[in-house]
């Protein structure tokens, strides 16, 4: 978990992305409702939120696929709109869908998208080799994409976004529908890219991914950024609470009644505490009073899941 900490974005200073007050409606449905954030050069920034939170809509505006109703996007110092062609070169998009031609091989797909980005022959050939190596598809590059496993397709999808050496890599839920092993491979390559100094915008509804990859995370819900910061900063939202789980025999309900907010679940009492050491002593004392024999005590650190629950009153995934 020890990752180098990057300079926090100041007032636009060395930010690779600045977006301000992005809004977009679809008919009377709100897609994104006032989202703004900055991404520092070399930083991996996560947008964490459940399905329908507005992650893809935000990304689409950021990449110039969708015109915002309000707000602005600046990437690598240049404004992005659907008609800004050159500025888009700074961005490498890895869409949520596997945006590849299934009946072409990985190499043919990459060649097509590389040329679309204006890469010359020699540079394209070199880059294709590099990105195929990075995503671990070098030995399967001449297979048709339709014959790939879900994980390989995802990796190839990422490769296509990296070809033209963008300053900012934007990944929209790149691990959806992938087996755990492939997912790990994908996360590892993104970590590697992050370490190499690439700026990354990563959206996901998996809090473990956001925790593992991202220097900073924005929590998105119903089109709004409800919180933003490093993992530590976000967890501070929950207060300094930790989860305490007391298992034992006897009248657990009586024990739970001693602590406001405590619940009995699966033969154990769950409660949130701010000072684990002091509360632990109280729990042991109370257990003696109500004749509960404690068989085990577990403590857990709060995670981004708990932060999301705390901020929105909802689970990240249903």
């Amino acid at each position: 978990m020890s990752r180098p900490s990057y300079a926090r974005p100041g007032m636009g200073g060395d930010s690779v992305v600045v977006c301000r007050d992005l809004r977009r409606r679809f008919g009377d449905r709100v897609g994104v409702d006032g989202v703004g954030f900055e991404i520092a050069r070399g930083e991996t920034y996560g947008l964490l939120g459940p399905n329908g939170a507005g992650k893809t809509t935000t990304i689409s505006m950021l990449c110039g696929l969708l015109a915002p109703d309000e707000g602005e996007v600046i990437v690598a110092g240049r404004p992005i709109t659907p008609s800004s062609t050159d500025a888009k070169r700074a961005i490498g998009l890895v869409p949520q869908d596997i945006a590849l031609y299934p009946d072409l091989t990985a190499r043919e797909n990459l060649r097509f998208f590389g040329r679309l980005q204006g890469l010359g022959k020699a540079r394209l050939a070199a880059r294709m080799g590099e990105v195929l190596e990075l995503v671990g598809l070098a030995d399967r590059a001449d297979d048709r994409v339709e014959h790939y496993s879900g994980g390989m397709k995802r990796r190839c999808n990422i490769a296509a976004g990296l070809l033209h050496e963008p300053e900012l890599l934007v990944l929209d839920e790149p691990t959806v529908g992938v087996d755990p092993q492939s997912r790990n491979a994908i996360l590892e390559s993104i970590e590697e890219l992050g370490r190499s100094g690439l700026s990354v915008l990563y959206t996901t509804h998996y809090m473990e991914e956001a925790e593992r990859l991202c220097d900073r995370v924005g929590i998105l819900d119903e089109g709004r950024l409800v919180a933003e910061g490093t993992r530590r900063e976000l967890i501070a939202h929950v207060g300094h609470q930790a989860g305490l789980r007391v298992s034992g025999t006897g009248d657990l309900h009586a024990l739970a009644a001693e602590f406001p907010g405590a619940v009995v679940r699966d033969g154990a009492v769950d409660l949130l505490v701010d000072d684990t050491g002091r509360r632990l002593a109280e729990v042991v004392g109370a257990a003696e009073r109500v004749h509960v024999v404690i068989t085990g005590i577990d403590t857990s650190e709060p995670d981004l899941e708990a932060v999301f629950l705390h901020l929105t009153g909802k689970a990240l995934r249903d």
Binding site: S83, L93, D97, I98, A99, Y101, E108, R115
Partner: protein, 375 residues
Amino acid sequence: MIARNELLRVYRDRTALFFILVLPVVIMVIIGSTFFGEAGDLPIGVIDRDQSELSARIERLVDDSPALATRRYTDLDALELDVRTGRVDAGLVIAPGAERVELITDPIRRSTGTVRTVVRGVLAGEGARLGAARLASDLTGTDLDANLLTADALGAEQTTIDVPVMATGTPAEDDVNQFSYTAPANLVLFVFVNSLAIAASIVQARQLGVLNRIRAGPLRTSTILVGFGLSRVLFSIVQSLLLLSVGALVFGVDFGDPVGVALLVLAFSLLCAGAGLLVGSVARNGDQAQAIGIPVAIALGMLGGAMWPLEIVGPTMRGIGHAVPHAWAMDAWVELVFEGGSARTVLGEVGILLAFAAVLLLIGSRLLHRRLSAI
């Protein structure tokens, strides 16, 4: 940049391309070889309305031809039906007085050209004989049958019997063969069908998200649009050229004035591209594009004379047919192939095709532009 993009798009479609380009050719080749294998015993129906010695002679000549197998009819409707359904390849009707012999054919049948040639050959001598005898009768007022015998004796050869070919409505020229109609008709039919079939690839690109990836790149929307449109025009032109070459080289079809052909192919390809863009932007998914596009293309082909000539349908259907661009394309082809038309004489049809194309391209690119602007 655009051109490169184009080539890549066409290249990308190469699996479809294989079927799209090769299939019509294969069909034409099959038609050709079946035709050549079949000559020798062509069933032909005969109605004798004259019942004279002369008509009996004509019948016998037809009977004796090794290439023809005759079947006798009395009812014209029954004969026409059998021609249409293919039970016989043609119907020979000897009119009262044996003055006229009509050949009923189905112009889209592959054997039609052969039957026509064979029958004409069989009757050529008889026509000469009849002509001479009739001339003698007219001049001398003597009995026709008697003069026929005289003519036989003289071996006169002055005129040939006219065998007007019903249903095709086109003068039977010597450089016109049985593929002269089917080759351009197939071209019109297939090039259009395929332009709608590959419209599915636009829809697919949209659905796969490839279109979004393209849009996320440094290309203008208009560039992308032109790319899509141009690739389709090129595609239709290439397909047309291929089918034209096969028609000319393998089936010996003379398509007429090259400038006229070029204009016609270009106009029709623009039209196909417009239709393709339209379907590509309207259809919800690739299957829908094909499920709707292909039957529609075939129906339009039927209406517009790309399956059978509009001359054989009633005036109402012919009128309706000309609401369809195919009919104008076929008119232009008939003009070029059968009537020795030139670029100038097909200018009207080409203009109408271009108008159709302009409308379709406009609507198609508008809709696609809208699709490109919003996700």
